[in-house]
Subunit: 227 residues, 4 copies
């Protein structure tokens, strides 16, 4: 039901405001419609408090507009690249949330300093390399997607559902729009606590066996946590 997906995407976009992840129009959520495979995404430049489900833009896999009268978010090309590489991702979120963006601006991977992190991200959340001048000038938004895909070449995007784009901001994903938003909230929270952990003097991440325990008790085949 494409209509239902539009409503989910609308609500997920409004959740970005509720969770203080965006101001103005600085964020966007998209979702892969389970029936058609189309991508439903927030329109460009519309204030959150005026948005309606029917404003959501429907794109096919090449980015051609299938439904909707408005322009899709200018980050749509990045979302499309990610949906093509991350075949099981059903929802994607991009924000300029304050803590994750500060890490992205520092150009550093976000270390796994605690079990809060380990419950959602299996190891550090990577920061991409810088884009080259050529990439930026040729197809900036597409290349942003490509550099994320490149970052996950040897990393499982399903066990680390988020990334920091160098000098820019985070993207997260999940099985649908809601889970992608959830992961954005978590990323923001652990980015904040990691900052403070470092100021308090620790730069040593969790032991691998503790990472294993936390990730697997929640996501492994014998998961028993928070179900």
């Amino acid at each position: 039901m494409l209509q239902e997906t539009k409503e989910k995407v609308l609500r997920a976009n409004l959740d970005l405001v509720k969770y203080h992840l965006v101001i103005f129009t600085w964020g966007n959520v998209s979702m892969r419609d389970p029936d058609t495979g189309y991508i439903v995404i927030k329109p460009s430049g519309v204030p959150y408090d005026e948005m309606k489900a029917d404003y959501m833009v429907v794109l096919d896999g090449e980015g051609k507009r299938v439904e909707g009268n408005m322009k899709p978010s200018s980050d749509a090309p990045t979302h499309l690249v990610l949906y093509n590489h991350f075949r099981e991702a059903g929802g994607i979120v991009h924000t300029h949330s304050e803590w994750a963006t500060s890490w992205a601006q520092s150009g550093r991977n976000l270390p796994a300093y605690g079990t809060t992190h380990a419950d959602y991200f299996y190891g550090e959340v990577p920061c991409t390399r810088k884009l080259t001048r050529e990439e930026i000038e040729r197809a900036y938004e597409v290349e942003t997607g490509n550099v994320i895909a490149e970052t996950f070449r040897k990393l499982d995007y399903r066990s680390v559902p988020g990334v920091l784009v160098y000098g820019h901001a985070p993207f997260t994903w999940g099985k649908d729009a809601d889970e992608a938003v959830h992961n954005s909230v978590v990323l923001e929270e652990v980015a904040k606590m990691a900052f403070r952990t470092e100021v308090l003097g620790n730069r040593i991440p969790l032991d691998q066996f503790l990472l294993d325990k936390h990730y697997l008790r929640k996501h492994g085949k014998d998961a028993y946590y928070g179900q």
Copy 2:
């Protein structure tokens, strides 16, 4: 009255949201029922805004479910170990509150830098040692309780009603669920101020005689403060 205890536990769990100590379902409060000695605890994975008193799970001292249809919080085994060691504790709280968790992630004891701290915690709030791989793989939640108990072997849990679990997050306790929540709020506040105190250049805790004065004017036999 078990019913009354369930309602207290419900309200105390909701207070975690009110005091901004938790997001999503990242926290849990339990209480020892004064009549039966049973432990009443939040169910696992239920959003705070849908919780009702009847969802609370009642466990006996071995963790067997006596009442309730839902699964207890996955941290229940930790709570049970603590109730067994801390015989006068009537309520226990676990959160991933942002400042206390940052200290737990740093692996450091929280020093007593000010009288706000000294009014509630008689000296530093300890951080446990790391759990070993074997402890984590054998019985993670039980061993989390054990390592807290070990930390208090030479420390009076009644005068220091809280702990930081290494790489994880805080636990606090009190005579009932409300007091345990109160101590969580205080721990968060003093963890925040201690962070800033250190950034401002001080790492020297209060004089012992000032610690004595503050703790004893509130908790000593001649207490006169805030009664």
Copy 3:
């Protein structure tokens, strides 16, 4: 009108909550009644949301209760010492507000890094020396007042209406309860910005002639600012 003063003191105490300067009962406002010279102060241990004007306690200059059934705030002896030394102070506030308290815990004077500070405090806000063991054991609250008075021996309390008590927290004052609360809000704001100014690398206070300009355009005999 003592009744009017009680109502002002009540409202000023509630303003501490509104401005996020206190949690629980961690703060108190008093005021010198202009007619009688009596000191009206918050009662001890009463939650802010249950307080009424009639709960306010009226004390004479020696601290004897003249009106009211409740115990005065346990900080009343400190307030009384200050009213005796600072003859033009009509209102006094004590809080454990998070930023000013962090400075107090660091044991440092709060430097005047900006004009926001200079509009209210004519130079740095001093931090008292530590109290001695003897002072703490003999008459802790009275000696807290004395050490503040000592700090202002060579400093005009009218041009610097606030202080940090070493390892404890701030006190502020003003011509009445409202102005004292106002100065507490300002102290908190400038304490926060001073912290960040230092982290950004600056430890040099404003030039004296800029301090002069800001303080005098607001408080001098030719004041023209914000009137």
Copy 4:
């Protein structure tokens, strides 16, 4: 319509409160009336919650009051100097917002560490030099305007719509009052994230070609972003 401009100025001033950029009366917005060229500005010392459109003060280019019974903001002379130098600026905002003011107090230019910054400010946001004793004593508010104009002698105020005044606080501008407020919100957000970026260890600004891309995709002649 001067009346319409007064209402816009009122609303823009109230937006400062909504966006948490001011407490008390610590901020002011003005706007150049498109019909008459007069400057409409907030009155001095009036609490935000009592302000009405008719309280707004109308000044001509020399600062003579054309309409209104109240005194203009004491920062009006600074606004007037800026309107005279920045001919296309239609709105100006001054606040003591906490993060931008902390940078102003540090005396440092705000580097462009991320694309959030680059979307609005084309390169670093400059900090003025210190004012001299003579400037401060002669005509403080006018000289504050002059030192801002001096700072932009070799910098395009249209591509960098904001400044930090040394030891004081930020000013921003835009095509009207709303855009000036919008730029104040952005400045605060990027000031906050830049602080954290530095604490995380990065002091290298974005590559020039990425600055170019972001600024030009939004403001260049082929702008396609957020329209």
